[in-house]
């Protein structure tokens, strides 16, 4: 439950058993994707089994960080006070070079510069000692 005092703070991810490695990797500057040794499926959303074949033979490999914008929307009205100062900002759906799609926001430029199919590059943005967010800039 979120209280009024928390309203001014942006939500910070709380890593769990499924996602600990992802957040650990980001802290070290890597976006770790799960590769399935049984069927070759690659997934960004972290879970202890492959979404395609159900296998549990998954290994983490760092993504190249390169991707392409599949869709986007520039937020002018923030979801709560914590994001108000950031508006306008561009929310992105990015197709990573390795296949998986990821949601993130645009950094290092103006939101109006974002276009479909634009090539982007991972930026690891530190939030605190535990959490680093994967964001994207123009490649």
């Amino acid at each position: 439950m979120i209280s009024s005092e928390d309203a001014m703070k942006k939500p910070v991810p709380a890593p769990d058993a499924d996602s600990a490695a992802l957040w650990h990797g980001l802290r070290d500057g890597m976006l770790l994707l799960q590769h399935c040794a049984d069927c070759g499926h690659v997934q960004y959303y972290q879970q202890a089994m492959c979404r395609q074949c159900g296998g549990e033979n998954l290994s983490h490999r760092p993504a190249s960080g390169r991707g392409k914008i599949h869709s986007f929307s520039v937020v002018h009205r923030a979801p709560g006070p914590a994001f108000k100062a950031d508006t306008p900002y561009a929310v992105l759906l990015i197709d990573l070079e390795e296949g998986p799609r990821i949601i993130s926001t645009y950094t290092g430029g103006k939101p109006e510069d974002v276009v479909f199919d634009m090539e982007v590059m991972l930026v690891c943005e530190k939030v605190n000692d535990e959490i680093t967010l994967p964001r994207f800039r123009k490649a």
């Binding site: 959303y45 979801p79 994001f83 959490i131």
Partner: protein, 396 residues
């Protein structure tokens, strides 16, 4: 997925009562009152007392502290049902309540089921609850740290639709204009001031491509329905029972970045299953209630429900095909965009309208000779989809 279903509930269950609370800004009334007020009207409409109900299905309510809304509701109304659940698949909940209610009756779990929902998003939310409803609906690790408003996921689907099919902001706006015109003829509608395409486009950007008037309202309100077996409806002497002919659902993802396609949704499969059960197709429908949290949602749904080919939804709307005289008059009450949107119960108003139309009770906004109607409910960035097909006695 199994392709042949031997069991069907087609025509087995009828809606025998409908009711609606006041909607829009309803000060000083709790979600439970809104639901109970609607329920009392539905019972009166069916001509039965509350002791005649043995099942209750409800949606949950953001502005209510009860985790088991259906159970709290039964206590409030003073009944002790032997079948009950509070369903939660976001905006799709409305149609799932009809489908599951019908299945429960057909399967013998209950004889008379009250389907009900009520919420007070406009006047009943404390600041904390409002914030919670805004921020806790999406993944706390993968989505919310980036500041993703509810409208944003839907906006990214509409934006990609514009890129792939040339859908224009004007075509999106036309949905809002048409539905406002519909709401002007609906007693009690929340927004009845006429608007133009220019009004929509100059109403201020929320999240591209959606302006304020591309987004649904925030409202208070509730609706309720009485479902029972076709036999029991006859025994009660119900004059114009409206039958549930088909139902279907489809759940394609949870996270927006795992949606299989941003422009073709689970509504294709949920409606295919509903049409198949009903034995009718999209061309047979006389009207539709199409979930309309945003204008682009309607355009994509008109395609996915089979009313026009993929990619042509924008032109379809522009050509007047979603209003009177067009191929499929849709949201004739004004929908979530102009009638009322009290959260999850909002889609129950589509059911109220389609059933009232099939009964021929809609006065100056009546779709002449309406016998078959479809309602499609969806939610959570198209994660959840549910379709119900309804018809008069003649369509059995």
């Amino acid at each position: 997925m199994p392709s042949i279903r031997k069991q069907t509930l087609r025509g087995k269950v009828a809606v025998i009562g409908i009711g609606m609370s006041p909607v829009g800004k309803v000060r000083g009334k709790s979600p439970l009152w809104l639901a109970a007020d609607a329920a009392k009207k539905a019972l009166a409409d069916a001509g039965i007392g509350k002791s005649g109900i043995d099942g209750v299905l409800s949606s949950h309510a953001f502005a209510s502290p009860f985790h088991r809304f259906s159970v709290a509701f039964s206590e409030y109304l003073g009944i002790q049902p032997t079948f009950s659940n509070t369903l939660q698949v976001s905006g799709a909940t409305a149609a799932t309540m009809f489908n599951i209610g019908a299945a429960a009756i057909h399967g013998g779990l209950a004889e008379v089921v009250l389907v009900v929902g009520g919420d007070s998003l406009l006047t009943g939310l404390t600041p904390d609850l409002a914030l919670r409803s805004m921020t806790e609906s999406r993944d706390q690790q993968y989505e919310m740290p980036f500041g993703i408003p509810v409208a944003n996921t839907f906006a990214m689907t509409a934006h990609r639709h514009m890129k792939d099919f040339g859908t224009t902001p004007e075509q999106l706006a036309e949905v809002a204009v048409v539905q406002r015109r519909h709401a002007m003829r609906t007693p009690g509608a929340q927004q009845t001031t006429p608007i133009t395409v220019d009004d929509v486009l100059s109403s201020g950007m929320v999240t591209t491509p959606y302006h304020k008037l591309d987004c649904s309202l925030i409202s208070d309100g509730g609706a309720a329905f009485i479902l029972t077996s076709a036999e029991h409806a006859k025994a009660l002497g119900i004059k114009s029972p409206i039958y549930i002919l088909g139902g279907g659902e489809c759940y394609t993802h949870e996270h927006i970045f795992l949606m299989p396609s941003l422009t073709t949704t689970g509504a294709v499969e949920s409606s295919r299953r509903a049409y198949e059960m009903a034995g009718y197709g999209p061309k047979d429908m006389d009207l539709a209630g199409v979930y309309d949290c945003f204008t682009g949602t309607v355009i994509m749904m008109l395609e996915d429900l089979g009313f026009c080919p993929k990619g042509e939804g924008g032109r379809f709307v522009e050509d007047g095909q979603m209003t009177y005289g067009g191929q499929i008059p849709s949201n004739t009450h004004g929908g979530l965009l102009s009638f009322a949107h009290s959260g999850v119960p909002g889609s129950l108003f589509h059911f109220h309208e389609v059933i009232a139309q099939l009964r021929g009770q809609c006065g100056e906004r009546q779709v002449p000779g309406a016998e078959l109607g479809l309602v499609h409910s969806l939610g959570a960035g198209f994660a959840t989809n549910a379709t119900t097909i309804l018809g008069t006695e003649n369509t059995l």
